[in-house]
């Protein structure tokens, strides 16, 4: 029975909207449509045949619907033309959400962290309120070192509790918490009691690195930082290791990168981007590790400084003003 109807459906002529409506009523009408009727009679056949019958009726229904759709499609250009013509396709689209942004320091911190994570360093963090022991004493700062002055450091309690002046105390916390090998980087906020100006702020961010194991040497340090500089600043970045001094490393170095600047007579200049060195034996002594067995390197860099270089930001205060016109550029 549905097979006959297939032929009927095929042979009907649909050439007008009226004919299409008549066709719909004849086959698909809710009350007297032929196909509708067939569906209603399914329960009359034996259960084992119902499924197959249902499928055949469905096929007929789809056939009928397809013919209607074909007719409508043939009419569509004429009918839709006016609506399409009315649509102003130059109106702005709807944004799924207004634009958001990450802070430029987050971008820079993240990029630095990601490079060192790729080298096998894991991220560690520490408190911003520190003891003088972690911040200075254990890091081999002499008792009367100028950095311990009130002029340079914010104290909560004289000679005891302070706002950390660098992320290096996390070196101490990490070495105390678990035995080497230790391979960490430490992003974090640090504080210096300095007058606020375009080039210094009372706080800034650092990324500290520490790798302690058996057999770690200055040559390893050079390799890790060379790979970092190339990943961060490009494969053709020029860099140099320059001897320097920090109480908690020996030998110590500063790393400069060559920054092209055509307005300068030499076409550029060396810019210091990080300090580093081999962990001083006194630091190992402070955390009860044997400096004969363990060696290690440490490094630290200022995130603001690198972000200022990357983006050409001249005034460090811009990072903390949170002007949307600044933020939206990152």
């Amino acid at each position: 029975m549905p097979d006959d109807i297939l032929k009927d459906i095929e042979s009907e002529i649909i050439d007008s909207t009226e004919a299409a409506e008549a066709f719909r009523v004849k086959y698909l009408g809710r009350k007297s449509g032929k196909i509708t009727g067939m569906f209603k009679r399914i329960p009359e056949v034996p259960p084992q045949e119902r499924k197959a019958l249902g499928q055949r009726i469905n096929q007929a229904k789809q056939q009928a619907e397809a013919r209607l759709a074909a007719f409508e499609a043939s009419q569509a250009p004429r009918d839709d033309a006016p609506r399409a013509a009315r649509m102003d396709r130059t109106l702005p689209g709807r944004l799924p959400a207004p634009p958001g942004s990450l802070h430029p320091l987050t971008h820079t911190l993240h990029d630095i962290a990601q490079i060192f994570e790729g080298f096998g360093f894991s991220i560690a963090t520490g408190p911003e309120i520190e003891t003088e022991w972690h911040n200075f004493t254990a890091l081999n700062f002499p008792a009367d070192h100028p950095a311990r002055d009130m002029q340079d450091t914010f104290f909560l309690e004289p000679d005891r509790v302070l706002l950390r002046t660098h992320t290096s105390p996390v070196q101490i916390r990490a070495l105390v918490a678990e035995p080497p090998p230790v391979r960490i980087i430490v992003p974090g906020r640090v504080y210096r009691n300095e007058a606020v100006s375009y080039k210094s702020y009372c706080l800034f961010h650092q990324v500290e690195g520490l790798y302690v194991d058996e057999g770690v040497s200055f040559a390893d340090l050079k390799q890790a930082l060379r790979l970092f500089v190339q990943a961060m600043f490009g494969d053709d970045a020029r860099m140099r290791f320059r001897p320097s001094f920090f109480p908690f490393t020996e030998p110590s170095a500063e790393v400069d990168i060559w920054w092209a600047d055509e307005t300068l007579p030499q076409q550029g200049r060396w810019l210091e981007i990080l300090g580093c060195g081999m962990v001083d034996p006194n630091v190992f002594a402070a955390v009860d590790l044997d400096p004969e067995r363990w060696t290690g390197y440490a490094f630290g860099m200022g995130v603001e400084r690198i972000a200022m270089l990357r983006y050409g930001i001249r005034d460090i205060r811009a990072f903390y003003e949170n002007d949307i016109r600044f933020l939206e550029q990152f």
Binding site: R94, T106, P127, V176, L203, A219, D323
Partner: protein, 846 residues
């Protein structure tokens, strides 16, 4: 520190240019921050004699001079200097000469100017009679330079001026290297010290200045006695006496030396002390010997605050514990810091006592800091001078003073407590050098490097036990350990020559194992930035009153605000108790700059005092509890945790062609928090209206409070329009991470393939009935079959009774099988029943 290239080359005859030398020193550990060329080419500048001077007819301040330059014609030159007079020998820049003239407004800047024949106020001028600053010799522009012939050379008419200067011992060109000296290199705070490194790094020889030291005792010891009452503060004090000097201007060569490094010449005696200080690194002081009473010098420590007038005419109060130099009756100098007015060298001084002492670094540092004075002397004593250099420097200074002042050195000297030679020897193992540096430097190479900067070296042992026995020179007090010596080897060998290892460090998976904290923070940041929020970084330090206000809002007592003892200003006296303060500032800043939509977030640490109660959530209080008493005990009074703030103000949506403007409200903050907590999969999150504040919700995960949502006015005073108010959610990130971390490694739940059933339900309830309770009841009664419930309509008005409202929910049921109508109907009935019973709700009839 300024180092003159010419001066340095007297001791280290390097062939490199100033720039090349700067590079070599920098790579050897003495960073040169800047190289400044001083002086200018003096081509075309010649010596002339002023033959006649007559007043300028048209200008009171100018004079018309006739100057003999040795040519066939007398030059006519207009000059404005007050001191020009007939008969003077003067330097004259002739037409065509290029001088580097200072900018009158900014004397540090110079620009080349070509001298031309010209007319000044109608009178011809065929050149320029020069002042010292115009020749680059000093900053003096008060008068023209007059060549008196007393400077060691006789001026000749027509002589090139550069030749005349050279005859005076003055190089007209020099370069100044601005060296940044690290605290471990006290030896490098002098020309001799930098020259030593320069010679070592360029492979040249070091020429030491000759200064024969007199033997202690002699006539000098009869004229004065030294009594060191505080040997711990002053282990050594050397004095020499110079008799019958004439105090006058220093000769040009000495003035040029001092000017080159930025010092102002004063008189021959004081200039010599400055010269020797910058030459050898030993600070000296010259006393007017006749102003010292009782032929006696005492070195004492102050016991009480002591008034004292220093030679800069400032009245100071010297703190207790400072080193004072006194004669028999009174204080005459602050030891190692600055001399006193009462004994300084004046024009009338005839006899001079030269002090050359070693003061203990920490004493000087304390005194200089307390007084707020940093002199060239204190700078060097603080870092540690060569304890064996006192007699040498005194002898050198005394000889120079006698020479320049026409006096004689009193034979002998007083040397109180000469430093006993205590050379300690340091063993440096070849194996250790290789282990630390990662390169095998032959031991004899290391030995030669160390010898080049004054170390005494002996080699011992063979192969694995090979080592150097090193005695550091006395001017290197910083070198005490094997590690210190290895650093010296490394910097002299050249960091650039240390190769990278053949093999990389062993692999580690640590980098890939991110902590839940890091993972969740990155997720949150990305989600927030992608949903329209802008990240801000605010100052952690606030005005105290601001901090107290936000402490109250955060639910702490104002007394719990953490303060710094030494804030930069009252604007930054306290640490933030919550991140809200910074966001409020950012919102106000941007509103004042015309922004209408502000959606901010910030991650940061917040702080409070805990009264010794231990905060188990993290922060300083419970991190690694190792070690000395200072550790945990010191910080347990403070709690610190990471916080995440979301803040909204202004318009959530601007009017557009397809939308109308809508100001933010509390539900924007709530919705953002819900989105975030759902994405982080914090378990069992509840947001409960606070009972003590009408516009606050407290957020819990299980029973752990993890934050709140609130609405505040920008300041206590006003801002009542909805778009001026600030809506915020602050989350205790440290706790939230602890709650959400287990969910990071959750197992997958298979997706059911069976269709779900959707039903709507409209209720009429009392107007005061909160929606949250209805939802909770629906969820409870719906049980596991109820997959989702959504409040889709809220209505109050004509269609419902007064005091009632209509609330409509869409419910979706499902299970891991096909649900029957009966089952769903039964569930719906149960839900309605529960709603009726708990909330007095009634199904709304159509």
């Amino acid at each position: 520190m300024n180092i003159s290239y010419n001066w340095l080359r007297e001791y280290a005859p390097v062939k490199e240019s100033p720039e090349e030398l700067a590079e070599i020193l920098t790579m050897g550990g003495l960073e040169v921050e800047e190289v400044r060329e001083i002086g200018s080419s003096l081509d075309g500048v010649v010596v002339g004699r002023v033959e006649r001077v007559r007043p300028h007819p048209n200008a009171d301040r100018l004079a018309c001079c006739e100057v003999n330059l040795g040519g066939p014609e007398i030059a006519r030159i207009v000059c404005g200097a007050p001191n020009v007079a007939a008969g003077q020998y003067v330097p004259v820049a002739t037409p065509g000469a290029t001088l580097s003239l200072p900018d009158r407004k900014n004397p540090d800047r110079r620009a080349p100017v070509v001298i031309r024949e010209t007319k000044l106020r109608g009178e011809p001028s065929e050149g320029m009679i020069c002042a010292e600053d115009e020749l680059g010799l000093s900053d003096n522009h008060d008068e023209i330079m007059v060549l008196t012939g007393e400077d060691g050379a006789t001026p000749r008419i027509g002589q090139p001026f550069a030749e005349y200067l050279a005859a005076c011992g003055v190089a007209h060109r020099d370069a100044v290297l601005d060296v940044s000296v690290t605290p471990n290199r006290p030896d490098a705070a002098s020309h001799l010290g930098v020259a030593r490194d320069a010679a070592a790094l360029t492979g040249g020889a070091l020429r030491l200045p000759e200064a024969p030291e007199p033997k202690p005792g002699g006539e000098a010891a009869q004229l004065v006695s030294i009594d060191i009452q505080a040997p711990e503060a002053c282990p050594r004090y050397v004095a020499m006496i110079v008799r019958d000097v004439t105090v006058r201007e220093s000769p040009p060569w000495l003035q040029a030396r001092l000017k080159a490094i930025g010092l102002r010449p004063r008189n021959n005696i004081v200039d010599v002390t400055n010269y020797v200080l910058h030459d050898m690194g030993q600070p000296l002081h010259a006393f007017d010997f006749d102003a010292l009473g009782g032929q006696r010098i005492r070195v004492r420590l102050t016991e009480a605050p002591t008034p004292f007038t220093t030679l800069d005419d400032k009245e100071r109060v010297i703190p207790p514990g400072a080193v004072m130099i006194a004669d028999a009756e009174r204080d005459v100098a602050i030891g190692g810091v600055m001399g006193g007015q009462n004994s300084e060298v004046r024009e009338t001084t005839r006899n001079v006592l030269v002090e050359s002492a070693f003061f203990d670094p920490s004493h000087i540092r304390r005194t200089a800091k307390a007084l707020g004075v940093q002199s060239d002397a204190s700078y060097r004593f603080e870092r540690g001078v060569d304890p064996t250099g006192q007699a040498r420097a005194a002898a050198r200074a005394a000889a120079l003073m006698a020479e320049l002042g026409g006096g004689t050195v009193v034979p002998g000297m007083v040397d109180a407590h000469p430093a006993p030679a205590t050379p300690t020897s340091i063993a440096v193992r070849a194996t250790r050098i290789a282990a630390v540096l990662g390169v095998r430097i032959p031991l004899d190479v290391s030995a030669r490097l160390l010898q080049s900067i004054g170390f005494d070296i002996a080699q011992e042992g063979e192969a694995e036990t090979a080592r150097l026995r090193c005695v550091a020179p006395p001017f290197r007090p910083d070198v005490e350990r094997e590690a210190d010596v290895i650093e010296e080897i490394a910097r002299l060998y050249g960091y650039d020559r240390i190769p990278e290892p053949d093999r990389a460090a062993p692999l580690s998976g640590d980098g890939a194992r991110q902590s839940p904290e890091t993972r969740l923070r990155r997720t949150a940041r990305t989600l927030l930035a992608c949903t329209g929020h802008r990240e801000i970084y605010a100052n952690s330090m606030l005005r105290l009153e601001t901090a107290e206000r936000f402490a109250r809002i955060a639910g702490y007592a104002p007394e719990q605000v953490v303060r710094t003892r030494n804030p930069i200003s009252s604007e930054m006296a306290a640490l933030r108790p919550s991140l809200l303060a910074g966001a409020v500032q950012a919102i106000e800043f941007n509103r004042n700059h015309g922004q209408r939509a502000m959606r901010f977030f910030e991650f940061g640490h917040v702080f409070r005092q805990t009264d010794g109660e231990r905060d188990t959530e993290g922060g300083a209080a419970n991190s690694a509890d190792h070690n000395p008493a200072q550790n945990s005990a010191a910080t347990e009074r403070y709690a610190e945790h990471e916080s995440l703030l979301l803040a909204f103000s202004g318009y959530a949506a601007e009017a557009g062609w397809n939308a109308s403007a809508r100001p933010f409200d509390l539900f924007d903050a709530k919705g953002a928090a819900e989105m975030l907590l759902r994405r982080l999969r914090a378990p069992d999150v509840r947001m409960e209206p606070a009972t003590d504040a009408p516009a606050r919700l407290d957020i819990f995960s299980g029973n752990v409070p993890i934050g709140n949502i609130l609405e505040i006015a920008p300041d206590d005073a006003g801002g009542s329009a909805p778009e001026d108010r600030i809506y915020a959610a602050e989350l205790h990130w440290t706790r939230l991470v602890r709650r959400a971390a287990p969910g990071l490694d959750r197992a997958y739940r298979p997706v059911t393939r069976h269709p779900s059933v959707e039903r709507d339900m409209a209720l009429v309830v009392d107007r005061k009935e909160p929606a949250g309770g209805l939802l909770q009841t629906i969820r409870q009664a719906g049980g596991r079959l109820l997959q989702e419930v959504r409040l889709f309509d809220l209505y109050e008005g004509e269609q419902v009774e007064p005091d009632k409202k209509s609330v409509a929910f869409a419910l979706r049921f499902g299970a891991n099988r096909t649900l029957t109508d009966r089952e769903v109907n039964k569930k719906m009935a149960r839900i309605v029943h529960a709603l009726e019973k708990t909330h007095g709700a009634a199904l709304r009839s159509e």
